[in-house]
């Protein structure tokens, strides 16, 4: 049809569309800021939620990297009659004989409680367990002593105790050389341990040597946990042979686990435990989108004469529609960019305050951009259609 009449409207370049859309916003800065704020809050919430949980996950994964995943623990399971099983007293020596095993150590639960003095009733344990520990434990767990010293062959036979970090805290002890009441006699605190993320049970324990436990606390010598480290590649093969090695007669009474699995699960959970907050962000985003649509409808109503003028200047319906869609898109993009920056800043501030590595996944930023464009389009379609339907004569009317 246009070929016949030779009448083809001039095309608006992308730059012109953006400029025309931006011109509408520039005329009303306060309103623009207020209606972009809704989008900004929604996007910022979502970015911060995703960013903070990603940062926490990253922190856990880094910790995992540092701690290694080659530690296995062996504990007694149940007998076929449902009773608590026991590990043979030879278990540690057997484990140490497996070829890929680099280091191994054992702890054994002792029927005793630890107290600051003998006036506190025995039933109050403070959640601290007393355990016999083999001297290789610290090396196997790659732990560290923050005060004093770890057990050696000599102190392992004496009334000497090393406290886990949490145990020391609960007893209110910050230095060594003090006495604690254990199993009806005094023990000297010779060391306090640092944190043990892979063996939190050790953090809550008071540890004495195997000989001392047997001699002074009536310990039967049967270990309750064996810790073992091998090379990374051998973990699975070691895991397969551990039950038979530890208890050749009843391998089914042995439980083998990998403490790093718990951390890994925690890391996975940290990445996913945010649906509620994400939902809140989505609601804010939706409200923001309604705000943008509202602003655009008002904008079209107020600017009927401008629209008529543009039509009289030769704007097609499509070009008017494009102008208001561009305006709506710019408005929500403005909110989206501000929100993404705010969300990233909030993530960084929170992560740095906890010594986490700040992480904002690129897919979250991409998602924010996509959501913004989607909202801008959805909010702009109806007002833009209304604008395009206006009669060109409205510019001429004097009222």
């Amino acid at each position: 049809m246009s070929r016949r009449t030779g009448l083809t409207p001039g095309r608006l370049g992308p730059g012109d569309v953006l400029r025309v859309g931006a011109a509408g916003l520039r005329a009303r800065p306060a309103r623009v800021i207020l209606s972009a704020l809704g989008i900004a809050i929604g996007i910022a919430t979502m970015i911060a939620v995703i960013g903070i949980s990603s940062s926490s996950r990253e922190q856990l994964l880094r910790q995992l990297d540092e701690l290694g995943t080659n530690l296995l623990t062996v504990t007694p399971g149940k007998t076929m009659f449902g009773d608590d099983a026991k590990l043979p007293t030879t278990a540690l020596a057997m484990v140490q004989r497996i070829r890929p095993v680099r280091t191994a150590a054992a702890t054994g639960a002792v029927e005793a409680s630890v107290r600051r003095n003998n006036h506190i009733p025995e039933t109050i344990t403070g959640g601290i367990s007393v355990q016999a520990a083999s001297t290789g434990l610290l090396t196997t767990l790659e732990g560290a002593v923050v005060k004093g010293a770890w057990l050696n062959d000599a102190t392992a036979a004496q009334p000497a105790v090393v406290l886990g970090a949490e145990a020391a805290k609960r007893l209110g002890l910050t230095r060594t050389g003090v006495q604690v009441w254990m199993g009806g006699r005094w023990f000297t605190v010779i060391g306090i341990l640092g944190p043990m993320p892979l063996a939190p049970e050790i953090e809550r324990s008071a540890l004495v040597g195997f000989p001392a436990a047997e001699e002074l606390l009536g310990f039967d010598g049967s270990p309750t946990t064996i810790y073992e480290r091998s090379s990374d590649e051998a973990v699975e093969s070691v895991r397969a042979v551990l039950p038979r090695t530890v208890n050749p007669d009843n391998p089914e009474e042995v439980t083998v686990s990998r403490p790093s699995d718990a951390l890994e699960a925690k890391a996975a959970a940290a990445g996913a435990f945010t649906n509620l907050l994400l939902g809140l962000g989505a609601v804010a985003l939706l409200v923001g989108g309604v705000g943008v649509a509202n602003t655009m409808v008002i904008s079209v109503l107020e600017r009927r004469k401008e629209i008529g003028l543009r039509r009289s200047l030769g704007a097609t319906r499509g070009q008017v529609r494009l102008q208001f869609l561009a305006e709506s898109l710019l408005l929500s993009a403005l909110g989206g960019v501000a929100g993404a920056v705010l969300g990233a800043l909030a993530t960084a501030a929170y992560a740095l305050s906890r010594d986490w590595p700040p992480v904002v996944p690129p897919w979250a930023l991409g998602g924010a951009v996509a959501a913004t464009l989607l909202i801008g389009t959805a909010a702009g379609i109806y007002p833009a259609m209304r604008a395009a339907r206006l009669s060109p004569t409205v510019a001429l009317s004097t009222t």
Binding site: T5, P9, G10, R26, A27, E306, G314, T316, S391, L396
Partner: protein, 238 residues
């Protein structure tokens, strides 16, 4: 030679049953300077809408620059307006906070020219209406007469052969109005066809040709081109 505008038996009825035009025949020749006069409500603006292709007639034929408007799509009508028509309204419709230059350049947005060419042509158009020294001024920094001249510059920046004005001096005092009229007269001198709606008998008498409307009908269309409008304007002692 056929006219640049031809209306044949044009009628227009608004919703509510107002017969704003009741069979209008009008031919505007190229190079005309035409005054449209008549009492309020007689259908002047409605007829200008028809001439300017801003609205379609109920019955009858409107032909602009050789195109039958009824046969054109919205896109084609828009192209026709951007290339052949310029509009000046009683209100100036300038974007506040935007310089005179950019207001005029914005008027060329739909002609398919690039931004630099638009600004160059806008500057030339402002020069033509005597505002070459006011390019960077915002509407709020201009007098009413100057603002209306900016609006005229916007209408003619694309060199449309036909300029339509609906009471262009209606919001101006007589001296500012005379400035605007002088600009229109100058455009007419250089070959643009101009049609002006006016209530001012003096302005009407400056034009070659008057079309008088009453109750949606042309009652009187006579020529009196014994004297040129510029001479008249000069004679009016501005």
């Amino acid at each position: 030679m056929t006219g640049i505008v031809e209306l044949v038996a044009v009628t227009k009825t608004y919703p509510g049953g107002v017969h704003a035009l009741r069979g209008v025949d009008l031919t505007i020749a190229r190079g005309d300077l035409l005054a449209i006069v008549g009492p309020s409500g007689s259908g002047k603006s409605t007829m200008l809408h028809m001439i300017g292709t801003l609205d379609r007639p109920a019955t009858g034929t409107v032909r602009v620059a050789g195109h039958d408007v009824a046969a054109l799509s919205d896109r084609e009508l828009s192209a026709l307006r951007s290339r052949h028509l310029g509009f000046v309204f009683q209100q100036f419709h300038l974007a506040p906070g935007v310089s005179a230059l950019d207001n005029v350049a914005d008027g060329l947005l739909y002609t398919g020219t690039n931004r630099r060419a638009r600004r160059e042509r806008a500057a030339a158009a402002l020069e033509r209406v005597g505002l070459g020294h006011r390019l960077g001024h915002k509407p709020s920094q201009l007098s009413g007469g100057e603002q209306q001249r900016v609006a005229v510059a916007r209408a003619v920046a694309g060199d449309p052969p036909l300029l339509l004005a609906d009471e262009p001096t209606g919001n101006l005092d007589s001296s500012a109005g005379a400035d605007v009229l002088a600009v229109l007269a100058g455009l007419h001198e250089s070959g643009t066809t101009v049609a002006v709606i006016t209530h001012d008998a003096e302005i009407a008498s400056w034009c070659h040709r008057q079309v008088r409307l009453r109750d949606g009908l042309i009652v009187d269309g006579h020529d009196h081109d014994d004297r040129g409008p510029v001479a008249l304007l000069k004679g009016a002692g501005r």
